[in-house]
């Protein structure tokens, strides 16, 4: 890829350029503290970016501190008689509740399964709890539950416990679902978010941005006609094939949900203390998704996915892994999009199809609230 070299300082500049901040190290060192006395939660605290990271770290990690939370994964693994178990929990507040390609119920089942699958684990059981607003139509609730039942049977992961609460009108928005899930990690497999190393390749399992665009297309005030449906799907079947074929070559996997591929790569870069070089032309994006992002002013790299995974894989296994993935219906468009490089500053860089280079950063702010 073309180098992004330092450019010469403009002759008219009164001061020399400062050193330039590194990606996250500087941000953490310099960021302003949460104002615990007078501050309030705002929407940016739920947007999946740095503000949310700070909220989690300064409030929840501080209060709950332990080695599992500190690992910073979407699930945690622990030893039980018989092997390593993973456990995850997830909340669903998507708006609208029904969207092309699914609804909040299917999203909850698949999303929870995916969090387990990203540890390479076999999902076993789920729980679901419902916070329902007074006045919510029973027919909608029934439809959501039926979808969850279908998703659970199709994936072979039963929902074995649950809880139901009803709150006064105006205290929730229709229905919120929260789930938990457990699964077992195959013997010998240990995927960690800090395991990416220079030279590794980055593979995505298919086209990105489908879910976010499908949900946006049904948003009030924003409705537009598109054939795009959410990619919401359970990835444990695809993962099982990958683990079976070349489990030892997988460093780690993530599902790029809120914040999209950009947030996921930045999270991995920071956890593993490496950088990425990716190639814009190699990233699979459906033309309809690209077009919708164009007029919505979004970057597809920031848009949520619900049925895609990113795998960091040892380079020698790249071809074999791609072949295995492409043989599975959910990995047909799997593509090698870049590689891991040594970079203490943990930057994700991209060669643009235009011929230049740029950073791929986390999204700031709350462009897409309640996408999952």
């Amino acid at each position: 890829m073309p180098p992004i070299g330092p450019t010469a300082a403009c002759a008219s500049m009164p001061k020399p350029l400062n050193e330039g901040p590194s990606n996250d190290v500087m941000i953490k060192a310099n960021r302003r503290k949460l104002d615990l006395k007078n501050g309030r939660v705002d929407l940016s605290h739920g947007a999946g970016g740095r503000a949310m990271g700070q909220l989690i770290e300064d409030i929840f990690h501080k209060a709950f501190d332990n080695e599992w939370l500190r690992a910073g994964n979407d699930q945690s693994a622990f030893m039980v008689p018989g092997g390593r178990m993973v456990m995850t929990t997830d909340g669903y507040v998507v708006s609208p509740l029904f969207f092309p390609g699914g609804n909040i119920g299917s999203l909850a089942v698949y999303g929870t399964i995916n969090d387990i699958a990203m540890a390479g684990a076999v999902p076993l059981y789920l729980s679901a709890s419902f916070i329902i607003e007074e006045g919510f139509p029973l027919t909608d609730l029934d439809r959501i539950a039926e979808t969850m039942g279908d998703a659970s049977r199709e994936t072979g992961v039963p929902i074995i416990t649950g809880d139901t609460k009803v709150v006064e009108r105006g205290k929730a928005d229709g229905v919120f679902i929260s789930t938990a899930g457990v699964g077992m990690v195959p013997a010998g497999l240990d995927l960690r978010s800090d395991a990416a190393r220079p030279g590794d390749v980055v593979i995505v399992s298919g086209s990105i941005g489908d879910h976010g665009v499908a949900v946006m297309s049904k948003r009030e005030n924003l409705e537009f006609d598109t054939g795009i449906v959410s990619d919401s799907a359970a990835l444990h079947g695809l993962v099982a094939g990958m683990v079976e074929a070349a489990g030892a070559a997988i460093r780690l996997m993530r599902d790029p949900t809120r914040g999209g591929l950009a947030a996921t790569l930045n999270e991995i870069a920071n956890a593993s203390k490496v950088g990425f070089r990716i190639d814009e032309e190699a990233i699979p994006i459906k033309p309809e998704v690209a077009a919708a992002c164009e007029f919505l002013g979004l970057d597809p790299l920031n848009v949520a996915n619900e049925g895609k995974l990113v795998a960091v894989v040892a380079p020698e296994a790249a071809d074999a892994m791609l072949a295995v993935m492409r043989a599975h219906p959910l990995g047909r468009e799997a593509a090698l999009v870049g590689h891991v490089v040594a970079d203490d500053d943990c930057f994700v860089q991209m060669a643009t199809s235009f011929g230049g280079g740029r950073i791929v950063d986390w999204l700031s702010g709350e462009q897409l609230p309640r996408i999952c």
Binding site: I4, M13, N30, R40, L43, F354, G356
Partner: protein, 379 residues
């Protein structure tokens, strides 16, 4: 994407870059200001500077509606939104712009203000229609591009007798700002900013045409090339500017002929003229008071003018003393020259407005280009 990808063709870009490199005189440097945030964004997002020779440099101008809004106007909007009868409708970008004392509309909303993010003026109208008991205020910002939709909203509100709908008008005008930059001491006397030409606005020019730039191209002997927002538009405009400079010409040229004419969209201009008049003076962040650089509602529409309807007061508020947004908006400094850049000021915790909108020079540089200051070598 048909009709889009053609304007992002990397092979064509390389060919144009080759021509620029061949034409650029190594004995001199070329400093071009892209006025618009849309151009700034395209340059950063596509890594366009990597294709230019070292002696062709871009200076980011003030053409970002969110960036030029002074703190006092944000404070006034927050104060208004905190009133219980008010529903303030705003574009998402404005939510995070810092006001005085670390305030913002986002925080005001968390504290209970009824602030709603909308995608267009028509969304605000719909809210006014659906909720007649609420005082619905549309926080109108932007250049000549967004003034016609605001005029349209006003026309609809009057036709539908929506008496609970009003506009907090912050529309600003491009030619006045460009003239202000060219007349500033930085450019005229001190020589701290060297400008050899302008990339003229894309969408603004669709509305106003290229004719309004003819005056200062002549008066200030500055070449202007009006260009579209796609990366090939920008790089072609740079080539056209290099040619003008080499030839000693200072003309208004139109690269964006697929959308821009000499006199622009006269229907849209007439709509704006019907409902708005010039303000004698209006504060722009970074530029200070700009004469005849902004619009307000005509007096006969006072009922729909939030400033009059709610007796709004705008008090001058000082920027953070370390914030260099002002100098950056004038092209005097680059984002990396600011000691706040990337330390306490990031898009997540913006101190200045240039770090908020994706069109702001600081946000664009942070999001796409901050690596350029790193001395690290790349393979």
């Amino acid at each position: 994407m048909k009709y889009i990808d053609e304007h992002r063709d990397g092979r064509l870009a390389k060919e144009i870059a080759r021509q620029i490199a061949a034409l650029a005189d190594p004995a001199r440097s070329y400093h071009f200001m892209e006025f618009c945030g849309g151009h700034t964004h395209a340059i950063s997002r596509y890594g366009l500077e990597d294709l230019l020779p070292q002696n062709v440099q871009m200076i980011h101008g003030p053409g970002c509606p969110v960036c030029v809004l002074p703190i006092g106007r944000i404070d006034a909007a927050i104060a208004l939104a905190m009133r219980p009868e008010i529903t303030l409708c705003t574009y998402g970008d404005l939510m995070r712009v810092p006001g005085s004392n670390e305030s913002s509309l986002l925080k005001a909303r968390a504290a209970g203000a009824d602030i709603r993010m909308v995608y267009s003026t028509l969304d605000a109208l719909r809210i006014a229609e659906a909720e007649p008991d609420r005082e619905v205020v549309f926080f109108a910002i932007g250049f000549e591009t967004t003034a016609p939709p605001t005029a349209l909203a006003l026309r609809v509100a009057i036709a539908k007798e929506l008496r609970n709908f009003s506009i907090f008008c912050n529309h600003v005008l491009t030619p006045a700002a460009i003239q202000n930059i060219l007349e500033s001491p930085d450019v005229r006397k001190l020589g701290t900013v060297k400008i050899d030409g302008f990339i003229g606005p894309a969408h603004v020019s669709i509305v106003i045409g290229t004719e309004p730039y003819e005056f200062f191209a002549e008066e200030f002997q500055q070449p202007v090339v009006v260009a579209g927002f796609e990366p090939l538009d920008v790089i072609q405009a740079i080539l056209m500017l290099v040619r003008q400079v080499n030839d000693g010409r200072h003309e208004v040229e139109n690269q964006y002929i697929r959308a821009v004419t000499r006199f622009g969209n006269e229907k849209a201009q007439a709509q704006v003229a019907n409902f708005f008049e010039l303000r004698e003076s209006f504060e722009w962040r970074g530029l200070g008071e700009v004469p005849y650089g902004a619009l307000r509602l005509r007096p006969q529409y006072a009922e729909h003018d939030s400033e009059k309807r709610f007796s709004m007061v705008t008090t001058a508020a000082k920027d953070n003393p370390a914030c260099e947004c002002g100098a950056i908006l004038r092209g005097v400094k680059k984002p990396a020259n600011c000691s706040l850049f990337g330390t306490v000021c990031t898009p997540d915790t913006p101190m200045g407005s240039c770090m908020v909108s994706p069109e702001g020079a600081c946000a664009a540089h942070w999001t796409y280009g901050r690596l350029r200051e790193h001395a690290k070598a790349f393979e």
